[in-house]
């Protein structure tokens, strides 16, 4: 990580501490904001958050690894999550997966070389009546067809 990147990340974390405080219960909201901006929480960010909250960095790491939507490894700028749980599975989610894999030229769990997309499976999104469903970042898309799923991908990045 470059020095100026570190400085700007440190400033960003200071602002988050101002916003949420430095109690332990502020940990998740802080991590969520870092995740949503950078799509992952780097070692340096983990250490900075730990320092402010007066806990060990490993505590922060253990929390990140527990939650499916927090990552300690870099991901693409847009995270596409396709529901694999039973109701979406029965609505032929595999056809959506294949279409997206073909379109982006990567397999599930991978990131495109231009770093635009990471695609992965997720457990039940709570959209079982409108399956197959997927999330792109914080948005959700329902009643997908292979064609509409790919269209949404392009719309999100503009």
């Amino acid at each position: 990580m470059l020095v100026f990147e570190k400085t700007s990340l440190a400033e960003e974390i200071e602002q988050l501490i101002e916003k949420y405080g430095n109690a332990r219960s502020a940990l998740l909201p802080i991590l969520q904001e870092i995740q949503s901006k950078h799509r992952y929480i780097s070692d340096y960010a983990q250490q900075e958050v730990a320092r402010h909250l007066k806990i060990q960095p490993v505590e922060v790491y253990s929390v990140i690894t527990f939650y499916a939507f927090l990552n300690s490894e870099p991901k693409g700028r847009n995270i596409v999550r396709i529901c694999k749980t039973i109701s979406c599975d029965m609505k032929n989610k595999i056809s959506i997966v294949k279409a997206i894999e073909r379109e982006l030229g990567i397999k599930m769990g991978e990131t495109t070389s231009d770093n635009k997309f990471t695609i992965e499976y997720t457990n039940c999104l709570g959209l079982c009546d409108e399956g197959p469903a997927m999330g792109i970042n914080e948005q959700v898309f329902t009643k997908l067809t292979p064609e509409s799923a790919v269209k949404h991908l392009h719309e999100v990045v503009g």
């Binding site: 909201p29 527990f66 939650y67 029965m90 457990n123």
Partner: protein, 401 residues
């Protein structure tokens, strides 16, 4: 997703005017509210079915400088989406239920624990809270009631099924891994930040304003003797009209299938992945605490579905979602999934499968929380109810060759 649909129901989906429930509640004493809820015989709608009045009375009796009301919106059970519909279409019921809970137990703080997957609902909920503050339904001296202050904040989860368990949810709120705590002590005494806390499901809280306005007696007239009231059902799978429905407790599976336009149904999974799978021969059974209890997830399978694949999907879910702190659940679910794969590859022996069934029963008693206690349910019920289909292929490809 469209906003409010035209929905039809006797309690939650009936007409309601914002503020009505809180206004009526504030004209009553705290004890009156607790007794009204007791009369309604309302039980927790998340799935566990604990009597709401008992939870509230314990929290009300606890002595502390601060107390909390937490709305459990970490709806993660496969096939469940009723809380999403309530939060999108009827947020006033849920928030007012929290305010009334706060008044009844003496809490000033309410927290909605919203699952990470529902982040897109957060904005509309927060806008609604702003409006409620303007209307003095939240804030200080609510609706002019001297000394009653209450406010609600929204806390976002980060995708972990286990956080629907109330003590895991509290751990998560406190900034930890969502691992279930030992109980006792129960959250009603030692909850969020060590303070008395009532954790209630979205739907449970949504029923409260109606119960306060129309009375506990009115509410328990719906449903059966042991299961009072109505229930929201999240119906998905093989049917013409998957949706959320409000029906009285005691409805039979057959009646339900007819209402949603399900044809050639082979099996119905009741209670999501942690529930049980009911075969056609038992479709006259009732959905009620005394027969088949459920948090409302109904997944329908028609004749073309392969029940072993369904089971595999469920077991993969539990292997991923087990929090890993207790051995029966962490190892047990992996072993059950392995068993399903053995059946799939025809590498099983019945002797080993019977050991796995014993393991499942051990998990039901030895796991620390509800996840491991209920995750073997689908394994046990699918292997029992669909054994002919899974182990014996009457029309096997090698017949007569």
């Amino acid at each position: 997703m469209e906003k409010r649909k035209d929905r039809d129901g006797k309690v939650l989906f009936s007409n309601y005017t914002l503020g009505e429930g809180v206004r009526k509640a504030l004209s009553l004493s705290r004890d009156d509210i607790l007794f009204e809820v007791k009369d309604s015989k309302l039980k927790g709608r998340g799935g566990a079915g604990f009597p709401v009045s008992t939870k509230w009375m314990l929290a009300a009796a606890a002595i502390a400088d601060e107390k909390y009301v937490i709305c459990n919106a970490d709806e993660g059970e496969p096939g469940t989406f009723k809380d999403r519909v309530l939060l999108v279409e009827y947020p006033e019921l849920v928030f007012e239920g929290m305010i009334i809970a706060g008044y009844a137990i003496g809490a000033k703080n309410g927290i909605v624990y919203l699952r990470g997957e529902y982040e897109y609902i957060r904005k509309s909920l927060e806008d609604f809270l702003v409006q409620m503050r303007k209307d003095n339904l939240l804030g200080k001296n609510i609706l002019g009631k001297e000394g009653f202050d209450f406010d609600i904040e929204i806390f976002l989860g980060s995708a972990a099924y286990i956080c629907g368990e109330e003590t895991a949810l509290i751990e998560s709120l406190e900034g930890h891994r969502g691992e279930a705590r030992n109980r006792p002590p129960y959250p009603v005494n030692t909850g969020f930040n060590g303070k008395p806390t009532s954790v209630n499901n979205v739907e449970t809280l949504g029923c409260i304003p109606h119960i306060i306005i129309k009375g506990g007696e009115w509410y328990h007239d719906f449903g059966t003797e042991k299961s009072s009231g109505t229930k929201l059902f999240s119906v998905s799978g093989d049917c013409e009209r998957p949706d959320v429905y409000e029906w009285e407790w005691g409805i039979t599976i057959n009646e339900m299938l007819e209402k949603v336009g399900a044809k050639n149904t082979k099996a119905v999974q009741i209670g999501g992945a942690s529930g049980i799978c009911v075969p056609k021969s038992q479709f006259d059974r009732k959905i009620a605490y005394e027969d088949i209890p459920t948090g409302g997830s109904i997944i329908i399978f028609d004749e073309n579905r392969d029940m072993l694949k369904v089971l595999k999907n469920f077991m993969e879910f539990f292997v991923e979602e087990s929090c890993g702190q207790c051995t029966p659940c962490r190892i047990g679910n992996s072993k059950l999934l392995e068993g399903v794969e053995m059946i799939e590859n025809e590498e099983y022996t019945f002797a080993y499968l019977s050991k796995l069934k014993d393991l499942g029963k051990t998990m039901q008693v030895a796991s620390k929380c509800g996840l491991g206690q209920s995750s073997p349910n689908s394994f046990l019920s699918i292997l029992e109810n669909f054994k002919d289909e899974i182990f014996y292929h009457e029309a096997g490809v090698e017949n007569g060759k």
